[in-house]
């Protein structure tokens, strides 16, 4: 397949690509007219997905136009209000990430607790724009979904209530996590080699991109003791997504969410290969979401622009500067690390770390690989002295204990999630925070100041120092945080 070419300068961030889109729209209109003659569905058909995406069209290194085609298809899917004709509904399947049968169909397909709870991805991810965060009103209820999922209340004994995260800069976040995982795995391997060579136990502190993850002990017989790891799972895979840091990739997140929120089941996990039936949820539809559809959604999310720094001046600038200094003085930046260095902008999908049930690199042909440098907001990132891109996420991709006896607001969950204790959460990335109120993992804090003062556990000292500041100094910190925006 040969594509028209767009050079890098022509391709700006998706949300500011109107000129490019206008150029293309005429072509698409004509194309659509031609293709419409082949379509059996009527123009008024009630389907959101008229044609599935085929992965083989988007494999190998993608050029700018191919990337844009995949991304724009993903954008459509992200905002598409799926219908029963697309496959919405899972009358005989729960929201669980492992295909799990319900014992009986629910009385009502849509339900705020166990889902279905949204019509489109953008129904919740929409603040300030599509791909963003969500209001308290679109909180989701997270449970494993292995037992009967017909919750009749929002009592936290059944599920954890979570606010919707934004996805801007998510491609860079996943790339950071992959590189950090590779670092940790290499360090584990080195420890094992040394233990074998020296015939003695080796204690190895794990550090990647300046973030420390505790230590492990390697023994000469090849065993690893993980008791003293910190903020990362025993498999040493950085799972950068969700507020608990339990999801490895945008692809895994996408497959999970499509089933949970819409009852749209991706073939790569719910197809006959893993379930013995092409219609696991028994809604009368098969092939609801193809691997190509997931790839398109991943491309869209991975290419959402990097959150920006709001240009301010005058009094706000002065306050912001003071607040920025305080941010460091209070050691907020020890976890909300201002920027992490990224060596490569090549995003491969599927990625290297997913497990069965999320498409992997050795399945179904070659990866789609695209260079996030195609995005203008990425090209504007600073580089460090080693030539690495500095990703200003204000996070460390590490989990921390965030509650203590005195500061227990964030300890409101009763269920651990995927082996992560109730009071541990991944450091929230603060980029874009000014555009994504409300705050806290439940979205039950209306201001950033409240959110800061709700910190406990590992953040207790910083929280206490913040609480002891004058109102003016607290305001300076907020003035700084208010510059961290998502461009609209």
């Amino acid at each position: 397949m040969k594509h028209g070419s767009l050079n890098m300068k022509q391709l700006t961030d998706p949300l500011s690509q109107k000129s490019v889109f206008k150029l293309a729209s005429g072509a698409c209109l004509i194309t659509g007219l031609i293709l419409s003659g082949l379509v059996t569905a009527s123009p008024w058909h009630e389907k959101a997905i008229s044609q599935h995406i085929h992965r083989s069209e988007f494999s190998g290194q993608l050029g700018a136009s191919e990337f844009e085609a995949l991304r724009s298809s993903g954008e459509h899917l992200f905002s598409a209000q799926f219908t029963v004709h697309d496959g919405v509904g899972r009358p005989m399947a729960t929201q669980a990430i492992i295909p799990t049968k319900r014992k009986r169909p629910p009385r009502s397909e849509f339900a705020r607790m166990a889902g279905l709870d949204a019509n489109a991805c953008s129904s919740c991810h929409n603040q300030p724009v599509s791909g963003g965060a969500g209001d308290f009103s679109v909180n989701v209820f997270v449970s494993e979904g292995f037992t009967q999922a017909d919750f009749d209340s929002s009592d936290p004994q059944f599920s954890n209530e979570r606010n919707t995260n934004h996805l801007f800069g998510a491609g860079l976040v996943e790339l950071l996590a992959r590189e950090m995982t590779a670092d940790l795995h290499q360090q584990r391997h080195e420890a094992l080699l040394e233990a074998h060579r020296t015939s003695s136990d080796v204690r190895k502190t794990l550090v990647s991109k300046g973030v420390e993850f505790g230590f492990l002990i390697a023994t000469p017989d090849g065993l690893i003791d993980t008791h003293r790891l910190s903020g990362v799972d025993d498999d040493l895979i950085i799972k950068p997504f969700s507020q608990k840091g339990v999801i490895t990739s945008l692809r895994q997140f996408t497959v999970n969410a499509l089933n949970h929120h819409h009852g749209m089941q991706a073939t790569e996990r719910f197809g006959s290969r893993w379930t013995g039936t092409p219609d696991f949820d028994e809604d009368g539809m098969s092939g609801e979401i193809t691997a190509g559809d997931v790839s398109a959604l991943v491309a869209y999310q991975a290419s959402l622009p990097v959150p920006a720094s709001k240009p301010v001046e005058g009094e706000w600038l002065e306050a912001s500067n003071r607040g920025s200094a305080l941010f460091d003085e209070l050691q907020c930046s020890s976890c909300h690390v201002r920027a992490l260095p990224l060596e490569s902008l090549h995003f491969s999908d599927p990625g290297p770390l997913d497990t069965a049930g999320t498409l992997r690199q050795s399945e179904a042909g070659a990866d789609a690989i695209y260079d996030l440098e195609l995005l203008a907001s990425v090209r504007q990132l600073e580089k460090n002295s080693e030539g690495h891109w500095m990703v200003p996420l204000f996070g460390d991709l590490k989990r921390h204990v965030i509650t203590d006896n005195r500061n227990n607001h964030f300890g409101n969950e009763l269920l651990s999630q995927r082996f992560v204790e109730r009071n541990e959460f991944m450091t929230s990335e603060l980029w874009g925070i000014a555009s994504t109120a409300p705050y806290g993992h439940r979205g039950d804090l209306t201001t950033m100041a409240e959110a800061i003062e709700a910190h406990g556990g590992d953040a207790k000292n910083s929280r206490d120092q913040f609480a002891a500041l004058s109102d003016a100094s607290k305001g300076d910190v907020i003035a700084f945080l208010k510059t961290l925006i998502i461009s609209e």
Partner: protein, 560 residues
């Protein structure tokens, strides 16, 4: 530029393949309009690599070696890579040391080891007899059986004399071991075949089977001076100690060859009694007379009660216990579910030879890591029996999502025209994919390396997996008799650590579990003394070592 707006997209639901290329204003738009369809079960692809792997060996010999042909897979040098001992019949047996690199080609180096270089070997089973850190080996022979105790670097010592073990003169064809009543040392059971010296031999002249209980002296040294006969013997070809009714006490199940016994049947012995007793009609044990060749045990439905596959000439039996009778009345009443499950495997599934099959080794394992148990059966004509299939390929019965089995031996690449006997299913290169070693009569040993799963794009990755090793201090350090349960979502898998069964072949290695699409699992262990462990949280695609009493697993990573 290919940019498809929503309304331009074409509805597509068929599998038909068509492609449309439209040139519009200088831009090429291509729409490939075929949809992929998942292929259903993952079919493992095996490549026979014995020669390049360095195993050049064959089991052969006269009538005494029409049966047997076993392999023992176990780690003899504590590097956690499985080494193999292969019987040779009238040829010499041999020990092969695993030199494979992780996830690389399978490689073995033949050990220069006179003590394991034996003739008249039928098969072998690994079991830790003396409770030291090295695995030991029980060698079944035509004539004197041998207890070989392990030493560093895969060296062995003949411990018959030290252990006061009389290897006997019988034709031994079956073995199993258990740790009774929290014994530190194992109880050993030997199954014997035809007594060739008895008048009228070979018909109706089966030797007694023998039970050896450990005798421990004041210095805590073990010996096996006394053989307790399990009389009558009915020409055993496989036996396994099994806790069939979850009573906490093993019984000894024996499968017997109707070719030579007269009036015999399948047997279940109470061996915990001072004087072993057979379960009888009055106990609920129904007569079953087959050409019993091999036994495999698995808890297929995770109800806590094992099912058994019994190979034979003709159809394979698959037995499930009546739980109510087992629990309430201690009655071993079994129903044959092989037909319902599609697991009879009674004739070749490919080729033109439609005569009945001859089944030997049976083993349950999840060979495609989809979390559903599969059943492997080695097949092969005894020698030249005209009423049975000559081309009789081994079976790979893949478990299906509707709790049945589906034959995929041909597609998997194991349907070789060889006369299979003993076998072992074991991950030889630690890539999480179970490999297969098959001993063939009169033909080379087959080493099938698992290379991935069949797809239109060549081998692809399969389901997630977990490999579990148990350790406990004191006696029974490898926790024989323990039960490992692995929970993923609502699915529970259960596996017993046992010694015995199959056909003259035993494996002591990580317990392997396929996890399908589960990325995590919870493990609980019921140790041999019935005590339950804590629940361990583990991540998929890992080798884990559970040391009794630890609050966390340890992960093992090969570094070669």
């Amino acid at each position: 530029m290919s940019m498809l707006s929503p309304d331009h997209l074409i509805a597509r639901g068929s599998r038909s393949s068509k492609s449309l290329t439209v040139l519009v204003t200088g831009l090429v738009v291509s729409i490939n309009a075929y949809a992929t369809e998942e292929s259903g079960l993952d079919i493992p692809l095996f490549e026979e690599v014995a020669m390049p792997a360095g195993i050049e060996h064959s089991y052969d010999g006269p009538w005494e070696h029409f049966v047997g042909g076993g392999v023992a897979a176990f780690d003899c040098n504590n590097d956690r890579f499985a080494d193999v001992f292969v019987a040779g019949g009238s040829n010499h047996s041999a020990m092969y040391i695993n030199a494979s690199s992780t996830a690389g080609d399978i490689r073995f180096e033949k050990a220069d080891s006179p003590i394991t270089d034996l003739k008249n070997v039928i098969g072998a089973y690994p079991v830790n007899i003396n409770n030291d850190e090295w695995m030991d080996l029980v060698v079944l022979r035509v004539g004197r059986n041998m207890l070989l105790t392990g030493e560093p670097d895969c060296r062995f010592a003949n411990a018959n004399q030290k252990l006061l073990f009389d290897g006997g003169v019988e034709w031994s064809t079956a073995f199993s071991a258990t740790f009774s009543n929290d014994d530190i040392y194992p109880t050993l059971a030997f199954g014997n075949y035809v007594d060739r010296t008895a008048p009228g031999s070979p018909w109706g002249t089966c030797s007694d089977n023998l039970l050896f209980r450990p005798a421990v002296d004041d210095n805590n040294q073990v010996a096996y001076p006394e053989a307790i006969p399990l009389d009558p013997g009915h020409c055993a070809l496989s036996m396994i100690f099994t806790d069939w009714n979850r009573s906490g006490t093993d019984s000894l199940r024996i499968t017997n060859d109707r070719q030579y016994h007269r009036g015999g049947e399948e047997q279940l012995w109470r061996t915990s009694d001072r004087y072993p007793r057979l379960y009888s009609r009055a106990d609920g044990w129904a007569p079953l007379v087959i050409w019993g060749m091999g036994i495999a045990e698995a808890d297929l439905n995770a109800d806590g009660y094992p099912e058994y596959a019994l190979t034979s000439m003709g159809d394979t039996k698959l037995q499930s216990v009546d739980v109510a009778q087992a629990v309430e009345e201690n009655r071993p009443a079994y129903e044959d579910i092989a037909w319902d499950k599609g697991a009879t495997a009674h004739r070749p599934y490919t080729g033109t030879d439609l005569k009945p099959s001859t089944g030997w080794h049976a083993e349950f394992a999840d060979l495609n890591n989809d979390s559903l148990p599969d059943l492997y059966i080695s097949k092969g004509n005894v020698e030249q029996m005209p009423d049975f299939a000559q081309y009789d390929p081994d079976n790979l019965l893949l478990g299906t999502h509707d709790d049945k089995f589906e034959e995929q031996g041909l597609a998997a690449g194991i349907a070789l025209p060889r006369r299979g006997r003993g076998a072992s299913i074991v991950d030889l290169n630690r890539d999480g994919l179970l490999d297969l070693i098959v001993v063939n009569r009169g033909e080379p040993v087959s080493v099938f390396q698992h290379t991935g799963y069949k797809s239109d794009h060549g081998p692809r990755a399969g389901g997630n997996w977990l490999a579990v090793e148990l350790q406990q201090k004191g006696g029974n350090r490898h926790a024989v008799g323990a039960r490992i349960t692995v929970k993923t979502g609502n699915r529970v898998q259960s596996k017993n650590i046992s010694v015995g069964g199959g056909h003259a072949s035993g494996t002591a290695d990580f317990a392997h579990f396929g996890l399908g699409v589960a990325e995590r699992a919870n493990i609980r262990v019921q140790w041999p003394d019935e005590e339950w462990s804590a629940s361990y949280r583990v991540f998929a695609n890992q080798h884990v070592v559970i040391k009794r009493g630890d609050d966390q697993v340890r992960y093992w990573y090969p570094i070669r």
